[in-house]
Every structure is written in C-alpha cells, then in structure tokens.
C-alpha cells in the first residue's frame, strides 16, 4: 500500500488506533499471533464471561446452605461445580458479608480481579483513586458509590497481592424470601461482589 493510501485509510482513526493496529499487524506478520484468536478472546470477555456468572454463584449460596458452606471453605471447587474457573480465577476465595462485617476487594498494585466470575474489571477498579483509597478510607470510597454502612460495621479490605482472587458474598436482601434462584441472581450486582455495593432490594 502506498503512503497516500495508508494515510487515507487511517484518516478517521486516532493515534492509539493506529498504534495498536500497527502492533497487531507486525505481530501477525511475524507469526506470533493468530488474529482470529484475538477476536475469540474479545468475544469471550464481552459476551460469555462476566458478572452474571458470579451472580449465579451468589444466588446458589443464598438458597443452598450446603453450597454456601462449600463456597466459604473451598471456593475454587464450589465455583467450578457451576462451570466457572480458569484464567485469573485459579485460586478463589469467597468472603461473606454479615451485619457486623463488610468486605471490600482491591488490588493496590495492579488490577487483580476474579475474571471467571466477574469478567474484566471496571475502569474504576483499575484506577488510582480506588487503588489508593480503598485500603485507607474504605468508607469514603463506599460513599462515592452511594453506600453508607452503620458506624458499628467492621470493614475488612482484601488487597489481592498474590494469585488468590476474592469474591464477596453479599448479604441476601430483606424481602427476597420467596424468590427463586434466577430472580435472586438478578439482585446481585457486580459491585456487590466487589464490596463497593450491596445487593438490590426485590422490586
């Protein structure tokens, strides 16, 4: 392709688009990557692996005391029994919120996050404001999310510094007694499984 055609084709693209496209092109030319594999990777995390997986885990724990006990004792195995596991969830731990204790998960050093149950982390989870403040001022962080906890509630922050990945088991909301598992899962937000939110109240 001539330089002119090259410029024309890319006239609508920004600097980062061009930089990423250039890198992808040369890596494919070298034979280091299969571009079709990139499409499958992206599709996987956009459509298949996301926080609805974790919501299903939580809903099961709410309705099944035996599963809840298993989840808290051996989260990796309990989560695998529902079909979730693998990359960035090889070693899972579930931590349970109670009226006396609220759990909050962070990775102050980078962006460690339990991909098989929550998908890719949201931008704020990877951002300097969250990573810097979660371990020092978690109540301030919670207020950014509109969450206020009773002053008597102890807060436990889990900094994901190694290869353990944490899933918060939020409290089951009041008024949800008659709901089935699917309806319960709809109350489980992504943020409630990180600890920056609470499960929704039933409609």
């Amino acid at each position: 392709m001539s330089a002119h055609e090259h410029d024309h084709e890319h006239s609508e693209l920004g600097e980062m688009d061009l930089r990423v496209r250039a890198l992808e092109t040369v890596l494919a030319e070298k034979g280091y990557i299969d571009p079709a594999a990139l499409d499958v990777l992206i599709d996987t995390y956009q459509t298949r692996i996301g926080p609805r997986n974790g919501a299903r885990v939580v809903a099961r724990a709410w309705v099944d005391a035996g599963f809840r006990e298993w989840l808290l004792r051996d989260a990796t195995a309990a989560i695998a029994s529902l079909g979730y596991g693998g990359r960035q969830g090889e070693h899972m731990r579930a931590v349970e919120n109670t009226p006396a204790l609220h759990n909050l998960v962070v990775c102050t050093l980078c962006s460690c996050y339990p991909w098989p149950v929550l998908g890719l982390p949201p931008t704020w989870y990877k951002s300097a404001p969250y990573r810097s403040r979660a371990v020092k001022d978690p109540r301030g962080v919670l207020s950014d999310f509109g969450v206020t906890l009773p002053a008597s509630t102890e807060i436990r922050v889990w900094d994901s510094t190694a290869e353990l990945r944490y899933l918060v088991l939020p409290q089951r909301p009041a008024g949800s007694e008659g709901l089935d598992e699917a309806a319960l899962a709809a109350l489980v937000t992504r943020d409630s499984m990180i600890g920056t939110g609470l499960a929704l109240s039933p409609p």
């Binding site: 980062m16 688009d17 990423v20 496209r21 250039a22 890198l23 992808e24 092109t25 040369v26 890596l27 030319e29 070298k30 280091y32 990557i33 299969d34 079709a36 594999a37 990139l38 499958v40 990777l41 992206i42 996987t44 995390y45 996301g50 926080p51 596991g85 693998g86 990359r87 960035q88 070693h91 102050t108 050093l109 980078c110 949201p122 931008t123 704020w124 951002s127 300097a128 404001p129 969250y130 810097s132 979660a134 371990v135 020092k136 978690p138 109540r139 950014d144 999310f145 008597s152 102890e154 436990r156 922050v157 889990w158 900094d159 994901s160 510094t161 190694a162 290869e163 937000t189 943020d191």
Partner: protein, 218 residues
C-alpha cells in the same frame, strides 16, 4: 540498580474520588479490547510470565500519566523489545523488517476457550513445613525492594497476624526476575487499620497475601 515501581498506590493521597460505572461498560475505545487480546495472545507465546509483564508495566516512567490500556500496550512493546521479538524500528511502521524469532507456542482461535479454562495455577507441592502458623504475629519486611515485588509499601515494617495459610505458590519476586518459580508458602496476613494509618477510624482491617520471605516473626 534502583528499581522503582510506580504502581504501588495503596494509601497514596491526592487521587480524588472514584467514578462508578455501569456493569456492561468494559472499554472506552475500540482499540482497548485489541490491546487486551494482543497482551493475552502474546502471553500465550510463553516468551515471558505474568510477573515479568507486571514488572514491565509498573516500571514505565510515565505510568501515572497513562490510561490502563495505554499502560498495557507500552508494557507489551517493552517486553517484545526486551525479548528480541520486535525491534524498535519495526514497531512504529508496523511491518516486519527482520525474520521472526521462534516462540514456544502460538494461540490458535480454536484453542482459546481451552487455554482460558485451564488458566495458570500457581500452587505447588510443599517441600518443607510452613514457618508461620495461623494466629502468629508477624512483621512485614521494611525498606525498599530492588526488584518487582508484591509486598505493598503501606504494610512494610508493619505488624500483622497470620490469618490463613494458603499453600505454596510460585514466588512473584523470583519469577519476575527470570529465576524460576522458587515456590514459597503464602499467607493471608491481616493488619489493623490503626497499625497502618495514624489517622484512620477504628473498625478497619486490611489484609494482603504475603509469601514467606516477606515476613519475619515478632
């Protein structure tokens, strides 16, 4: 040689409020998912390990000015050059000028699901007993570390308690240096908020996961 991580943000002041986002919002530009996928696919060539990529990212001189996926592409370009897989003059034009170097593996589209499902477990068999027990008081090592580490600055020199023994895991520090897996016992160590921060309210506990070499008995 001094090693400076610019990613060790725990407790750092001045970053402002957190901006929440709706659940489905994963990317903010079309190039971001391509960077994610490129990084995963190049990781699958086994030319480096995950700790080496964390080290490459956290030492970027302009880390604090870059967005998340800008950090990722800069880290990827750095590793590609360090490993001799790309030369600097190939990166900007995006065309190969030299023959490829052999890589251990190329991730095919058909193998993506299997590779993600398999992941990369880090637990290894124990070859010696754990030095610390649940309930034991420990102190995190103080002072600077001259290489990649997963011991955050805000706990260094602080006293905590072993809450859980998590088995033996690949040691990030050695792994990042290319010294092999060097597995060590991994502990969840919990610190009282008032031990970490002089100006925090009571009722806060913070834990990290710490490999045995990070800790000493008190």
């Amino acid at each position: 040689m001094s090693y400076v991580s610019r990613a060790d943000l725990g407790g750092q002041p001045g970053h402002g409020r957190v901006t929440p986002e709706p659940e489905g919002e994963l990317f903010h530009a079309a190039w971001e998912p391509r960077v994610l996928a490129l990084s995963l696919a190049m990781g699958a060539t086994r030319s480096w390990n995950i700790d080496m990529s964390r080290a490459a990212r956290e030492t970027l001189p302009n880390y604090g000015e870059l967005s998340y996926y800008e950090v990722w592409i800069a880290g990827l370009q750095k590793l590609l050059q360090e490993c001799g897989l790309l030369s600097p003059e190939e990166i900007a034009p995006g065309h190969a000028l030299h023959p490829p170097r052999p890589v251990a593996h190329v991730l095919a589209a058909a193998d993506v699901a299997g590779a993600l499902a398999k992941g990369a477990p880090t637990e290894r068999p124990a070859t010696r007993p754990a030095r610390f027990a649940v309930g034991q008081a420990v102190r995190a090592h103080a002072g600077p570390v001259p290489h990649h580490t997963r011991l955050p600055g805000y706990v260094r020199g602080k006293r905590g308690v072993v809450e859980r023994v998590n088995g033996v895991h690949v040691f990030a520090d050695a792994h990042a240096l290319g010294l092999g897996e060097d597995p060590h016992w991994l502990y969840t160590v919990v610190f009282d908020g008032v031990e970490l921060w002089s100006d925090t309210a009571p009722g806060l506990k913070v834990s990290i996961d710490a490999w045995e070499p990070y800790l000493e008995a008190v």
